[in-house]
Symmetry: D2
Subunit: 364 residues, 4 copies
Amino acid sequence: MLVVMQAHAAPDQVRAVCQKIESLGYRAHPMPGAERTAIGITGNKDALEPGTLDEMPGVQEVIQVTKPYKLVSRDIKQENTVIRFPGTDAVIGGPGLAIMAGPCAIESREQAFAVAERVQRAGAQFFRGGAYKPRTSPYSFQGLGEEGLRIMAEVRDRFGMRIVTEAIDNESLELVEEYADVIQIGARNMQNFSLLKRAGRSQRPVLLKRGMSATLEEFLMAAEYVMSEGNYNVILCERGVRTFADHTRNTLDLSIIPAVQRLSHLPILVDPSHGTGKRNKVTPLSRAAVAVGADGLIIEVHHQPDQALSDGVQSLYPEQFDELMAQVRQIAPVVGRTVSPIGIHTPAAAIPALPSGTHPVAPG
Amino acid sequence: MLVVMQAHAAPDQVRAVCQKIESLGYRAHPMPGAERTAIGITGNKDALEPGTLDEMPGVQEVIQVTKPYKLVSRDIKQENTVIRFPGTDAVIGGPGLAIMAGPCAIESREQAFAVAERVQRAGAQFFRGGAYKPRTSPYSFQGLGEEGLRIMAEVRDRFGMRIVTEAIDNESLELVEEYADVIQIGARNMQNFSLLKRAGRSQRPVLLKRGMSATLEEFLMAAEYVMSEGNYNVILCERGVRTFADHTRNTLDLSIIPAVQRLSHLPILVDPSHGTGKRNKVTPLSRAAVAVGADGLIIEVHHQPDQALSDGVQSLYPEQFDELMAQVRQIAPVVGRTVSPIGIHTPAAAIPALPSGTHPVAPG
Amino acid sequence: MLVVMQAHAAPDQVRAVCQKIESLGYRAHPMPGAERTAIGITGNKDALEPGTLDEMPGVQEVIQVTKPYKLVSRDIKQENTVIRFPGTDAVIGGPGLAIMAGPCAIESREQAFAVAERVQRAGAQFFRGGAYKPRTSPYSFQGLGEEGLRIMAEVRDRFGMRIVTEAIDNESLELVEEYADVIQIGARNMQNFSLLKRAGRSQRPVLLKRGMSATLEEFLMAAEYVMSEGNYNVILCERGVRTFADHTRNTLDLSIIPAVQRLSHLPILVDPSHGTGKRNKVTPLSRAAVAVGADGLIIEVHHQPDQALSDGVQSLYPEQFDELMAQVRQIAPVVGRTVSPIGIHTPAAAIPALPSGTHPVAPG
Amino acid sequence: MLVVMQAHAAPDQVRAVCQKIESLGYRAHPMPGAERTAIGITGNKDALEPGTLDEMPGVQEVIQVTKPYKLVSRDIKQENTVIRFPGTDAVIGGPGLAIMAGPCAIESREQAFAVAERVQRAGAQFFRGGAYKPRTSPYSFQGLGEEGLRIMAEVRDRFGMRIVTEAIDNESLELVEEYADVIQIGARNMQNFSLLKRAGRSQRPVLLKRGMSATLEEFLMAAEYVMSEGNYNVILCERGVRTFADHTRNTLDLSIIPAVQRLSHLPILVDPSHGTGKRNKVTPLSRAAVAVGADGLIIEVHHQPDQALSDGVQSLYPEQFDELMAQVRQIAPVVGRTVSPIGIHTPAAAIPALPSGTHPVAPG
């Protein structure tokens, strides 16, 4: 922490601030400058509440310096976290891109199978689909619930893809972790700390979407919540933020990919479907996401988008997804990445084995 | 809904869109213009998914017209919702301003009583305080939990104020509704639809804070979630939104007060403490909130802000709150409002009676 | 400036950064902490380019501390700047609120006089109106140009109000300073530094509107541009910023009023007409602006808003402006302000005298 | 335009709105729906001011439908605009990517030549550099002015690159068009309509940067200003927008590339240097920009970034630019693009010939 004094601050005021700092058990480092004095503070095991100093006479500003995240940070663990799913070639955070695809919501067994067959063949290792849908309106389709989870489990058995689906509260998380391979926490719940802690006590990896107005620090702190409960297999996901721009539903912030990779060892995916909200923008932004260095993509695909019960406007037709994968395959090598070959049918074990992450970091 | 065709759209394309609309059970109203044709759609009981038409040949844009909210709307109920708390003079939505004040978090019985005594005396009818704190960091103070609720119940018995406190998940909501008079849903949970539905099944009024990047429509739809479960006593609260501006923690959007009042019958308060995040901005913005026409204020006050366990930087000293109330008392009459007189001690019944709202609107 | 080193930064790296700092003529203050070392920098007459240190090995972050503004700051001049217009009671920055009102654009002599007569009678001391209109579309009405300025000069002669009008480039500024009393620089030109410098060489006061996405610091720096050329009579104006919120055209950020007043001696007005873009929000937000402590208001009024050539949707009817003034009159005393009495007709001198500001600060 | 009536609007109110519309010379198309009536308006040669109808009794909302841009639109000209520079292989908007590179500011002949030599060799066809710098602070280096332009002209003669540099007002534009090949209008001047019109009367192509908070429509309307004066050679450039996100200086909005390409025939470049403000993000975002489909890049390169007089923190080292170009070369073919081969030295004519665009669209 750094305290910046006003230009006219009296020596007494500087002294008083230093004494206050020392009285709280920290060390004060006054630095008289040409115009004003700044006072550095060290020894802060816990973050000092800025309120303590902010309003003292002569104080102009208190600047937070220490970052509050620990377990997510490369300071704790330098090498990338890689999440493996035993018995399959599905890997997140390794050299191969993780490709997740499927419908916004599971609507029926027929629909799920029709989409799964197509995305698996195109090279997706993960099948995404919603059983519990957080919808802006209480009158919109809210998902099939457990029935949807059961259908996804069948998709896994049949097509050998790993299952990714969203939990929206502790009750649904209970069921999701029973049926699925990856638990998704949606953007609207990124700071639902109760849900994050519950996910942190699960043994399934957690796919954490960035909140609509989350800063990088808040995003990492949400991951820290999950990790602080012992679950180190967290996958971050950029899905667009809210801005004034109205040509897309959200503004996809691809610059957060290298920013996360600099600070954290966790893998990060991109969701261009929600990130743009428009079908015709999904493929260009998927190319860009791979080019920027993302660890994978999560894409909405529907075999009949114009009859989808939700998000039809942003779902790709299966042929469009084929084309997207063809383009992504060409870009991946430029950034040192590989993409799974076009779908060889590899049925997985019926019961999802737990992932073997690179975890047991012993947090200091 | 309105479909805008491209300038060069062929008559065939217009016809195809009209046929598609009719085939879905709606009525199409083509309107040929000087430059392009627009097609109005009526009869849409349910919102038509725009995805159906968006990508048809010749279509430029699909514009949503119908608003999705019903129960929150003045279309359903024209007169203002007024929430009364039997046995006290605490009212929300009536001519008297509802004043809620108290510490960010309940830290101890001593602290709660010290603050309560001061804010009650200054004219607050409601005591706010957190027992469950949604903190950005898992390592920050998370609240006293049920112990905090018990202290607040004592405050009610002793000082006659109604209690407002936040629930952060279904478990804590269970306890909050047992101890408190008003259940707060925080900004981070504004789209935690599972929690909103649970609050909708409670008999306590719900104070719903605007999410950090919520549009007016999303805000009203969150209230609609609560009401759609049968709880019509919803109080909205503006608490600042996230913008690029960095001179305050959030940007307090006071223009939403008249905007809400135009569309909805629900009362709306302002929280200038979170809305600015800076102690020296709380009083000016409180004056502005009353002047713009808000139904009340919710203010953080602490008897020792520099030792607060959370949000000390934005908590008022009790004397500052006295001053704030003195100023608010002068502005209220200009907008046809009254403020409770300076604290006559009126102890309330030990067990909180249920509020008697103006509800049972029979939604059409 | 403060350099924060990485947690694992080697002593050598810390030393190298310190040497670099010293080699640039500054002083380095290393502060070893529990987790990492921070290095304070003093002696920076000119701002040190952060690029110099940002990418040195072991550096995590470089934090700018020193504020770049000087002349606008209370560090240089503690008492408020008050701008007087000799021969009238029009004052900006004093205890009386400065009220500016008039149409968006001057459309004709008849229109200008019709509006002027009404706003003068209601208590406005300044007549606003555009002769040069910055319109989003090149095909929209662009203003009457010099003819509009001439009409405004007649309004001054006839109604005794001081004239405020926008200059959009160096050419129009030349004319504006000849005819008008206050030169307005619009939001879109807030960082048109060439125009700011030209305005800084004028002898007329400058009304500087905040840019649509300007931070407080950028806003103050724009004023610094004007002042750095010798014109100390700058009036700031908040007029809404761009956010995701769509219930108003812009989001009026009233918290910037106390923020500016804390840092700067310059007066600051509020423009709720552009700040909301909706007629029915202008009066509530005007009340709020006065309550928050603004030094005045600038309001669009038109005698026939539904026939206005621009911005009709946000212009008040004259009766609405009367009502606004009546309400503002009641709020002003709460914040220690007065409002001009209802229009006594005081014709001003035909040729605008130069304002006598409190300037000649001798910038140190 | 579409008028949405309130749910309870009386038939009389609907009738009155229709009559008003017809009285203004437009045609009204009332569409009674299940809940409310909407009224379509056609025949609007000029945009009808929404203010006319917005506040009529029973009106809920007025929705603008017609887009105000004409010349920029694919409705007027379907094929892409391609801008050629006779005597060189520099082309913007064709299959080859346009690569512009150089220092933020021209500091000296030595510096300019040192950078030019490197970027030309790496494959840039355009040399960028500022002679007039719009700096946030009046005390920062403001550029060398005409001396800088002269140095750039020498760079053209020597290295055969086309010159791109910013004009900040009508005076500097006069000089810029004399010396340079492309006139840049910076983000801060995107709505400096006076400057846009002046640029529209120039015979040089104009590189128009997106304003920090410009919507797609405002961006296109700014281009429309230039074109409406007869200059059809406009190049758009995305350079990041202002959001709450603080991990980069601006948020680069790559989704605007396909959005522009859908609506307009104008070429669009990406500036990842300003778009991120951080050297280590420039290369990843450059890859992404090419992958998303941009027509080219504009990149800040400095041979000694840590001694740059401006923007050193975001300037690439020449070796980093080599590496960027190597990566871009691999991605380009995926999106059907080519990149100039590594620098064959092709000195251009001393006097810049005018570009031969694909213009003379005869705007209807």
